[in-house]
């Protein structure tokens, strides 16, 4: 009995550390004031506004391909619409990069590298980093070629983060559907497990094997 408890505990602790919360590995943390964190979380109210702010402040260099938003010079190019009719809203990356090669290389000339596409950046960096970096790029990543466009505008930065979140993550309605699905699946499995266990007990009693 004591052996079973020991092995169960050590296994659970091990997987907790490896899969859920690794207390030994280094973590980077970035601060974000609570009121702005609230804005960045609230996709429903601020994503639309965030998109407009993105178009005004960021679109000159950054695309959000998964939302069909391309850098301004590409967006103004009539070729884009023809291509989108053929390939859909989200152009394949190789098509996009070869047709608009000159636009992208122009950006590379001014910044040293092509500014990254921001479709999944929210999932990579998280809202705290995005907020801190966009607000003061040099402070978070010294030597970066990102210009301090949003410095001194924390609320608008948070709204842009909310927009990026809305692109990267499923919508709130979709999320609640998934939660419902998850709860249903898990509840079904637990109920089935319990029923099987009870059925097993009864059947074995009847067979005299208990």
């Amino acid at each position: 009995m004591i052996k079973s408890i020991f092995f169960t505990l050590i296994t659970l602790v091990f997987f907790y550390i490896i899969w859920i919360n690794n207390i030994f590995a280094p973590h980077e943390r970035y601060e974000m004031p609570a009121q702005y964190a609230k804005i960045a979380e609230d996709v429903k109210s601020y994503a639309k506004e965030g998109k407009q702010l993105f178009e005004q402040n960021c679109q000159a260099c950054h695309s959000v391909r998964y939302d069909g938003v391309y850098i301004s010079s590409v967006q103004a190019n009539p070729k884009l619409q023809t291509l989108q009719e053929k390939y859909g809203k989200v152009l394949p990356r190789d098509v996009y990069e070869s047709v608009f090669y000159e636009d992208l290389m122009g950006l590379k000339e001014s910044f040293g590298k092509v500014p990254p596409d921001l479709s999944t950046i929210y999932l990579v960096k998280g809202k705290e980093y995005l907020y801190a970096f966009t607000l003061e790029p040099q402070k978070v990543l010294p030597g970066t070629s990102m210009p301090p466009v949003m410095t001194g505008r924390p609320e608008e930065t948070a709204k842009i983060v909310a927009y990026l979140k809305s692109v990267a993550e499923p919508s709130p309605e979709e999320k609640s559907k998934r939660v419902l699905m998850g709860v249903g699946t898990i509840a079904y499995l637990i109920v089935m497990g319990v029923l099987l266990w009870i059925y097993k007990g009864r059947l074995l009693k009847r067979m005299g094997l208990h």
Binding site: W19, T120, M181, G182, G193, W197, K200
Partner: protein, 403 residues
């Protein structure tokens, strides 16, 4: 009507006889403990991987330009419910390996590798090895930063052979490394090869090996926690319904935990850094292999000499393979073997510590700890022959087979 069709088929296929002889008349020990369910959980995990993998191949594109978008846009956003399939496949791979590890440790604990089950153990080892390769090839496919750089680091490991004294000049390591990558850098050739291996060759090999493993379990009989062979006619219970219902209930619990992760906790199985498309010009800050390889990685990393490190972590794998030879004691199961039990705890703690150390930065203290736990891991394998000799003495003193 339906039962008539059923009877018509049964008269020709004799399926009910097969069921009766293979499931009901098949007797197993009554005292099988919970860890024996890891075997059936592994089979279910394998089935889940195959089914979800088939659906993923419908939308995934093995092309360096479109792989990332096909995984993160087409699959995750465009096609309904494919996010679920990807979550299941990604979490399933981790759960599969976790269950396989638990299954291996159960096998070691109950000495399920001893006569007459040596071949079962060896085939199981091959399954484990192929599984690691499958996991490694599959990890590259989403073409994120971690996929790319993880593979860069992994393909570097064989080059450590080249730092050996004499054979190093042959450049075997570099050849292996180039063979793995399909060229001097990871690119279209690599992703194409890995895709082919991951979806066709390796799963087919696994399927064959798993079938053979299962057949061997039936042929040699299930081992026993008490460490003695039971007389099946007197003590055994019918496999169906006794084991099917018991392990079926365990299985539901396992699936409930699995789907908890699938729906609510994918941060570890789809790590944040892998949502960044692969970029050969940008090295991410922390590159470490996936958790199931970390113990080997720590052994490799903490030994100062590269070649020795390479030898040491391969030696661990070899020791696991020849476990039936190292442990020739006639006594089975850790329940009857106090010395073995102590060394088993040393093994468990060292392998867990090595895995956790692998996630930590490579400081001198961690390297020292890594060396200590590597010594712990090896002490298990080295102690086995010694324990066996001592136990032969006890066995003879007690009167050998007569007891």
């Amino acid at each position: 009507m339906l039962s008539r069709i059923g009877r018509w088929i049964d008269e020709r296929a004799h399926l009910s006889e097969l069921w009766q002889s293979q499931m009901v008349d098949y007797k197993v020990p009554k005292n099988l403990t919970f860890p024996y369910a890891f075997g059936v959980m592994a089979i279910v995990a394998f089935a889940i991987q195959i089914i979800s993998g088939i659906f993923l191949t419908m939308y995934y594109q093995p092309n360096i330009h479109t792989a990332f978008d096909s995984a993160n846009y087409t699959i995750m956003k465009e096609v309904p419910f494919m996010w679920l399939v990807r979550h299941v496949h990604a979490a399933g791979a981790n759960f599969f390996l976790a269950i396989v590890y638990l299954h291996i440790f159960t096998g070691i604990y109950y000495n399920a590798y001893k006569k007459p089950r040596e071949l079962t153990w060896i085939v199981g080892w091959v399954i484990y090895f192929v599984l690691l390769v499958t996991a490694l090839t599959g990890y590259l496919l989403p073409w994120g930063q971690l996929s790319y750089w993880g593979m860069v680091v992994t393909a570097e490991i064989p080059t450590s052979i080249d730092s050996a004294p004499i054979i190093g000049s042959l450049k075997i390591g570099e050849t292996i490394s180039i063979l793995m990558k399909g060229g001097y850098e990871i690119g279209q050739v690599t992703i194409g090869r890995f895709f082919g291996l991951h979806i066709w060759l390796l799963p087919l090999i696994l399927l064959a090996l798993v079938s053979f493993h299962l057949y061997l379990v039936r042929a040699a009989g299930i081992s026993n926690p008490e460490g003695r062979e039971i007389d099946k006619k007197k003590e055994g219970v019918p496999f169906h319904p006794y084991i099917t219902l018991k392990e079926g209930a365990y299985l539901m619990g396992y699936l409930a935990v699995f789907f908890f992760f699938v729906f609510f906790y994918m941060h570890h199985f789809l790590p944040a850094d892998n949502y960044d498309p692969a970029d050969p010009f940008k090295t991410p800050a922390h590159i470490a292999p996936e958790w199931y390889l970390l113990a080997y990685y720590t052994i490799f990393r903490s030994i100062p000499d590269k070649f020795l490190g390479f030898v040491a972590f391969n030696l661990t794998l070899v020791f696991l393979l020849i476990l039936p030879l190292l442990d020739f004691s006639p006594i089975k199961s850790a329940r009857n073997r106090p010395l073995f039990f102590i060394m088993f705890i040393v093994l468990v703690i060292s392998s867990m510590a090595l895995t956790i150390l692998g996630t930590m930065p490579p400081t001198p203290t961690n390297a020292m700890l890594g060396l200590i736990f590597t010594a712990g891991l090896f002490s298990f394998f080295i102690a086995l022959p010694i324990i066996s000799i001592i136990e032969w003495g006890w066995y003879k003193a007690k009167g050998g087979e007569k007891q």
